[in-house]
C-alpha cells in the first residue's frame, strides 16, 4: 500500500522552527516502521536524522512517536500503524529535539543515575557468584528487561508538566535494585524514592505500561516500590499517608471516607497543608457537594473486616 509519512523535520542550523514534510512510499506488508524510515533516508532524503542500530528490539535506539504515541520503530509493522493512508512521525516527547527525530537523552540518563542503578551488596563479594533463587529473581525479572528506549519517558503525563519527576524509566530501574535480594540499601533507596519527584508523584495514567515494548511495565514496578516503602515504614510523606488512610477507611466502612482522607494524607499537624485544603472544602460545602458528614458503611461490612483480618491488615 502507498503510505504517506508525515515527518517532523528540524534542523536548528538551518531553520529555528520545526515543520512537517511528506514522503510517500509503497510499503509491503512485512516492513517495519524502521525499514520504511531507512528506505526514506536511503532513497528519498539522506539528510533525515534518527537513531537506529540493532533492528531487533534489543538496543532501544529507534523509539519515535508514531501517530502521537511513542513506539519502537523496529518492532512495529508500518501497515499496522497507518491511520487512513498516513503515519505521522515525531521525535519522542519530554526530551529536547536535536535534529529531526533524534532527541537529547542527557536528562533521561541523569534521572537514571539519580536512582543509583547498580548493586550495593549486603556483604563483601564472595569467592564464587552470589546465588539467587528463581523466586528471588522473579521479583526483578521484568524490570531487568528494560532496554532504555525512552518510550515510557516520552509519553509520561507527569513529566509533561513537571521535569523534576524521576519518571517511569528511572523508577522501573530503581525497582530492579530495591527488590534485589543481594542489595543492602533497600531502606535507603525507598527513603530517597519517597521524596518529592519520586514514586508518589506517579499519576497512574498507565501511559508507560502502554508504550513499553518489553515486559518492564514501569507503572507496575512503581507500585511494587510503593509496597516496599510502606513495608519498610517509610510513611512520613503525603503519598504513603494517603495509601494508609485509604486502606484504613475501606477497612472501617468498606468505603472511602472522602472527608477524612485528605486530612490524614497531608497530616494532622501540617497546618499549611490543611490550610490549602480549605478553599476547595468550603467551595464544595457551599454548593452542598461535600461528602455526607455521617459516613455510612456498606452492607456486610463485617465480611470486609474479616478479609482484612485474614490478610493481617
Amino acid at each position: 500500500m502507498i503510505i504517506t509519512f508525515k515527518i517532523k523535520r528540524y534542523n536548528p542550523e538551518k531553520q529555528g522552527e520545526a515543520y512537517f514534510e511528506d514522503f510517500k512510499l509503497d510499503v509491503q506488508e512485512d516492513l517495519t516502521l524502521l525499514d520504511c524510515m531507512n528506505e526514506i533516508k536511503w532513497t528519498l532524503d539522506g539528510s533525515l536524522t534518527y537513531r537506529m542500530s540493532c533492528r531487533s528490539a534489543i538496543c532501544g535506539s529507534c523509539a519515535v512517536k508514531a501517530n502521537g504515541h511513542a513506539t519502537l520503530a523496529c518492532q512495529r509493522q508500518a501497515t499496522h500503524l497507518v491511520k487512513g493512508d498516513t503515519i505521522v512521525l515525531e521525535p519522542l516527547g519530554n526530551m529536547k529535539p536535536i535534529k529531526d527525530l533524534a532527541v537529547d537523552f542527557e536528562p533521561f540518563w541523569e534521572k537514571i543515575n539519580k536512582v543509583s542503578p547498580y548493586l550495593q551488596p549486603k556483604q563483601k563479594a564472595p569467592e564464587k557468584e552470589r546465588v539467587q533463587s528463581p523466586e528471588q529473581f522473579s521479583l526483578i525479572d521484568d524490570s531487568s528487561t528494560c532496554i532504555m528506549c525512552g518510550s515510557c519517558h516520552s509519553d509520561c503525563n507527569v513529566l509533561e508538566v513537571d521535569e523534576d519527576f524521576l519518571g517511569p524509566a528511572a523508577l522501573a530501574k530503581a525497582q530492579r535494585f530495591v527488590q534485589d535480594s543481594r542489595d543492602g540499601k533497600t531502606l535507603e533507596r525507598v527513603k530517597n524514592l519517597s521524596k518529592p519527584g519520586g514514586i508518589w508523584d506517579c499519576t497512574h495514567c498507565g501511559e508507560c505500561v502502554e508504550r513499553c515494548p518489553k515486559p518492564a511495565r514501569p507503572f507496575d514496578r512503581i507500585k511494587e516500590i510503593m509496597t516496599v516503602a510502606l513495608e519498610q515504614g517509610v510513611t512520613n510523606n503525603n503519598g504513603a499517608r494517603h495509601a494508609l488512610s485509604f486502606t484504613k477507611s475501606v477497612k472501617s466502612s468498606g468505603r472511602l471516607n472522602e472527608n477524612i482522607i485528605p486530612v490524614e494524607s497531608v497530616g494532622f499537624f501540617n497546618f499549611r497543608g490543611l490550610f490549602d485544603l480549605l478553599p476547595v472544602g468550603l467551595r464544595m460545602l457551599f454548593k452542598g457537594k461535600n461528602p455526607p458528614v455521617l459516613h455510612k458503611s456498606i452492607d456486610e461490612v463485617e465480611d470486609v473486616k474479616r478479609i482484612y483480618m485474614e490478610l493481617d491488615e
Binding site: C202, H204, L256, P291, I307, L311
Partner: protein, 291 residues
C-alpha cells in the same frame, strides 16, 4: 436490560449528582440497575499499593456478588472499571492465585468463578448496538448545537489489553453517544490523557497543570463543555477549576458534565433534576445553547 450497579464511593460522596443522573438515565432508558450495596470500594489502585492481594480479594468479592446474581456488572467510574478489570485479569491468569483469593473469600460465603459475567462501564453499555438503539428511540430533547469534549479517564483506556474500547489510543465510544444525543463531538488530543487527580495530595501543581492543559485544549478546540466518565476526573476538572483557572494565564473556565447527565438531559430531564446546580463551575451557559 438489567445489570448489577457498582456505584463506587465518589458517586455516593462528593459527586452525588453522578448517582442521581445515573438513576435518571436508567429510568429514562428503561434500564434496570440493581445496586450492589454490599460491594466494597475498588481500592482505586491505592489499596493495592499497601497490599495487592487485599485489593484483589476485595474486588474478586465484588465481582462474585454480581456473579451470584447472574448479572453483568456496570460501573459509572473509569477508575472502578479499570481496577475491577485488573483484578479479573490477575485472578483469571493464574489458577494458584485464584485459589488463594477464593480461600480468602470462602468464609464470607463468596466464590469468584471468573468469566461468568461482563464488567462494563455505563458508556460501554450505551455503546452496544442495543444501547445505541435505546438512546436513538428515547432522545426527547436533541442536544443540537452543543459542542461536547469527551474526557475518558485513564483507567478505561490503559492498559489497552483490559480496555473495552476497540482502539484505546483513539477511542470513539463516547463521541458516538454524543452524536446520537444530537450533540457535536469535539476531538482534541487531551481527551485520553490524565486529569491529575491521583497526585492532587502529593504534587498539587503538577496535578492542576495536567487538568489545566486538558481544559485549555478542549476550549481551544471549540468545546462548550467537557463530559467525563469518571467522577475523579470530574473533581479534578470541576471542583479544582478555580485554582486551575488562576494558575493559567490564559484562563480556562468551562462546565464539566458527567456522561449520565448529558444522556439524561437529552432524555428530557432538567439540569436541576440531574444535580447540575451542585457543580462548582456553573452549567448555566449551556442552557442558552440548548434553549
Amino acid at each position: 436490560m438489567k445489570f448489577a450497579l457498582f456505584t463506587g464511593c465518589v458517586a455516593k460522596g462528593a459527586t452525588r449528582e453522578l448517582m442521581l443522573s445515573t438513576i435518571k438515565s436508567a429510568e429514562g432508558l428503561g434500564i434496570e440497575f440493581i445496586e450492589m450495596k454490599s460491594a466494597a470500594c475498588c481500592g482505586a489502585g491505592v489499596v493495592s499499593e499497601k497490599n495487592p492481594l487485599l485489593a484483589d480479594a476485595l474486588n474478586a468479592r465484588s465481582i462474585a456478588i454480581a456473579e451470584e446474581q447472574d448479572l453483568d456488572l456496570v460501573t459509572i467510574c473509569s477508575t472502578c472499571q479499570g481496577i475491577l478489570k485488573k483484578t479479573e485479569s490477575h485472578v483469571d491468569s493464574d489458577p494458584s492465585y485464584k485459589k488463594k483469593v477464593n480461600n480468602v473469600l470462602e468464609e464470607g460465603g463468596h466464590h469468584y468463578a471468573g468469566g461468568k459475567i461482563k464488567i462494563q462501564h455505563f458508556a460501554n453499555v450505551l455503546g452496544t448496538e442495543e444501547g445505541l438503539k435505546l438512546l436513538r428511540d428515547k432522545v426527547k430533547r436533541p442536544l443540537t448545537g452543543l459542542k461536547t469534549a469527551a474526557f475518558y479517564g485513564c483507567y478505561v483506556l490503559r492498559p489497552s489489553g483490559l480496555s473495552l474500547y476497540e482502539d484505546p489510543d483513539n477511542p470513539t465510544g463516547m463521541e458516538e453517544i454524543f452524536e446520537i444525543l444530537g450533540a457535536t463531538p469535539v476531538y482534541y488530543d487531551s481527551r485520553t490523557k490524565c486529569c491529575g487527580f491521583p497526585i492532587i495530595m502529593m504534587n498539587k501543581n503538577a496535578s492542576h497543570d495536567m487538568a489545566g492543559n486538558a481544559l485549555i485544549d478542549a476550549i481551544d478546540s471549540g468545546a462548550d463543555c467537557v463530559v467525563t466518565g469518571c467522577p475523579l476526573c470530574h473533581l479534578s476538572l470541576d471542583a479544582y477549576q478555580p485554582e486551575i483557572d488562576r494558575m493559567n494565564k490564559k484562563g480556562c473556565s468551562i462546565p464539566i458534565l458527567h456522561l449520565p447527565q448529558l444522556v439524561a438531559l437529552a432524555l428530557g430531564y432538567s439540569p436541576q433534576e440531574l444535580g447540575m446546580d451542585k457543580h462548582i463551575i456553573s452549567t448555566a451557559r449551556l442552557d442558552k445553547i440548548l434553549a
